[in-house]
Amino acid sequence: MALLTKKDASLITDPLADNNPITIQVLGICSALAITAELKASVVMAVSVLFVLAIGNVVISLMRNIIPSKIRIIVQLIVVATLVIIVDQVLKAFAYELSKTLSVFVGLIITNCIIMGRFEAFALANGPWKSFLDGIGNSLGYGLILIIVGFFRELLGSGTLFGYPVLGNPIEKTGLYSIGYENNGFMIIPPAALIVVGIIIWVQRSRNPALVEDN
């Protein structure tokens, strides 16, 4: 790879699996529970976090030597808030219906633990290019889980993917519904996301026992 050194590439690939923000660091769970009932919302959320985290990491990294450490949290908050407002306004302008589905959760990206976590743990100690890659990697890891959870919840809960009915029509009883299949209402409610995330964590740790913590 000419573009990325091996070390740089690992900044992107690590958070996808063995250092995933949701399944390993257990950060950003709240939004993963709240907005994953539909795949579309999951994707938009993933893209929004990608934008905020990548740009935010670069900005913080550029300012890292001039931020007084006592007020660094406030400075970080201002950076996140600015970026989140940009995302929120863009969504409201170009995808109004979707922004209503996501409602407060776009605004709550500000409090998403992953973002503050990466600012604190990485951007304050590394250069802008590395911070940028780290932001991309972590938000991709976050988005990957969001999309997996959203896929299963929308498929099993509503029988659709991105809003398109893939299993047939539940009212006219076509497709799978003609043989008695029914949507699983449990998948629509947020606790189901907790269980799906739990199953992902379970599968991941049984495939790679090195991830299991010692008690």
Partner: protein, 424 residues
């Protein structure tokens, strides 16, 4: 012994030895120990010889459930034919209830539920035993019998299978299998069904065989539960007498209706010392107290007849015990030794709140006038906390006694202070 005289038991022994150490060994061992006592004994260490192993305990509970199951098979037919032809004017137990026609409906509707519950549940247990390489545990024996008894009779079998897989895997295996689960697996399965497929778990169509298929047609039938009638303030339209409710000739989940047989099963479990009488008694007290409070509220005139809670709140407090799943839940579910409180004092709290919350949820639940399974699951979660405080309280009390003792050995007062500092 010549080869011809090999018994079935002997063949299984040989099969088991053949597979020893191989991947599928737990599956064969399970089949073997399910049918026969194992042929090997442990070799080192000292052991307690006791007749009441896990399998014996489980079998006792199943014995207590058999009358309920048989009754439910007759009741399945009785409710079906009564919904079509009307309830008999002069009820005769032999002519109207214990008939072959009624039992046949039970065979074609209740038995498949039992078979699917055991088949799917044991399959999951076998798979986990093989993957994890441990012996198959008996834990599913009771759960598998409870599950068909706490679902509506028209529950589609595939839904039951999905729920059983969910309940056994998420409710039990992820915590480490039998004896390690936090939530009662049977109730986890029930709760999953309730939240996943609410239209199949509530309403007036699911409690009677064929009511769903006939809905909307000229020969439509329905069978609302008593709690359903009360929740709609239609208590006056009910044709069930108190003795119907007590003996169980009413619609409801498959096995929950007959309080009489559940009572007998409960007494059997108490006398065989399998289930805790403390939990049962305190749960009964808890539900009576909550029922009395609601009755009192109605008597005071704070809740008028126009209120949507009037029907359930004005229902006689003691009758809560003989309708719905309360009796079944108290006797067979709340007393689960794994998920319930372990300390004697804790059992009183645990049981009391199960009864108390059951009636409370029953009255206030907007979607479904029943709450026993939710109350028990909630208290399952709190059981370890209750035990923790009971044990802490005991430690504190004994330390206090040690401190206040008049005749002390030389250094025990200092020791007590030391201990106190540690616990505080």
């Amino acid at each position: 012994m010549s080869d011809k005289k090999l018994t079935f038991k002997k063949r299984l022994h040989i099969l088991k030895h053949h597979y020893r150490g191989k991947k599928m060994a737990p599956a064969f061992n399970a089949l073997h120990t399910f049918l026969f006592a194992p042929d090997e004994t442990t070799h080192n260490g000292s052991h307690v010889r006791a007749a009441d192993d896990l399998k014996r305990t489980m079998n006792t509970v199943i014995m207590a459930l058999v009358p309920v199951l048989l009754f439910s098979m007759f009741n399945a037919g009785y409710q079906h034919f009564s919904a079509i032809n009307g309830f008999p004017q002069e009820f005769s137990l032999v002519n109207d209830f214990l008939t072959w026609d009624n039992f046949w409906i039970g065979i074609i509707k209740v038995l498949p539920l039992v078979v699917v519950s055991y088949g799917v549940g044991l399959l999951v247990e076998f798979i986990f035993a093989v993957i994890k390489g441990h012996e198959v545990e008996e834990g599913y024996l009771v759960t598998g019998m409870l599950v068909p008894l706490i679902v509506p009779i028209d529950t589609p079998l595939w839904m039951l299978s999905v729920a059983v897989v969910f309940g056994v895997v998420i409710g039990k295996e992820v915590f480490g299998g039998t004896g390690m689960n936090i939530l009662n697996p049977a109730l986890t399965i029930r709760a999953f069904l309730f939240f996943a497929y609410p239209t199949w778990m509530s309403g007036d169509k699911v409690w009677v065989y064929q009511a769903v298929e006939r809905a909307g047609g000229p020969d439509a039938i329905s069978g609302e539960t008593i709690l359903g009638y009360l929740a709609q303030n239609k208590g006056a339209e009910m044709s069930y007498s108190v003795s119907d409710m007590f003996f169980g000739f009413i619609p409801g989940s498959v096995g929950e209706t007959s309080t009489f047989l559940i009572l007998l099963g409960g007494l059997f479990l108490i006398f065989s010392k399998i289930a805790s009488w403390r939990i049962m008694l305190s749960a009964v007290i808890g539900s009576l107290v909550m029922g009395l409070i609601f009755n009192g509220v109605v008597d005071q005139g704070w809740i008028g007849e126009t209120s949507k809670f009037y029907g359930l709140m004005s229902f006689d407090f003691w009758q809560h015990l003989i309708v719905g799943g309360l009796a079944f839940g108290i006797v067979y579910m709340a007393t689960d030794p794994v998920t319930g409180a372990q300390t004697n004092r804790g059992k009183w709290f645990y049981g009391f709140f199960i009864g108390f919350l059951s009636v409370m949820i029953r009255v206030f639940n907007p979607a479904y006038p029943e709450g026993v399974f939710l109350a028990i699951l909630l208290m399952n979660v709190f059981a370890p906390t209750i035990d923790h405080y009971v044990v802490r309280g005991n430690v504190k009390r004994r330390l206090k006694r040690l401190k206040n003792a008049t005749i002390l050995p030389k250094d025990s007062a200092g020791k007590a202070n030391e201990l106190h500092a540690e616990t505080a």
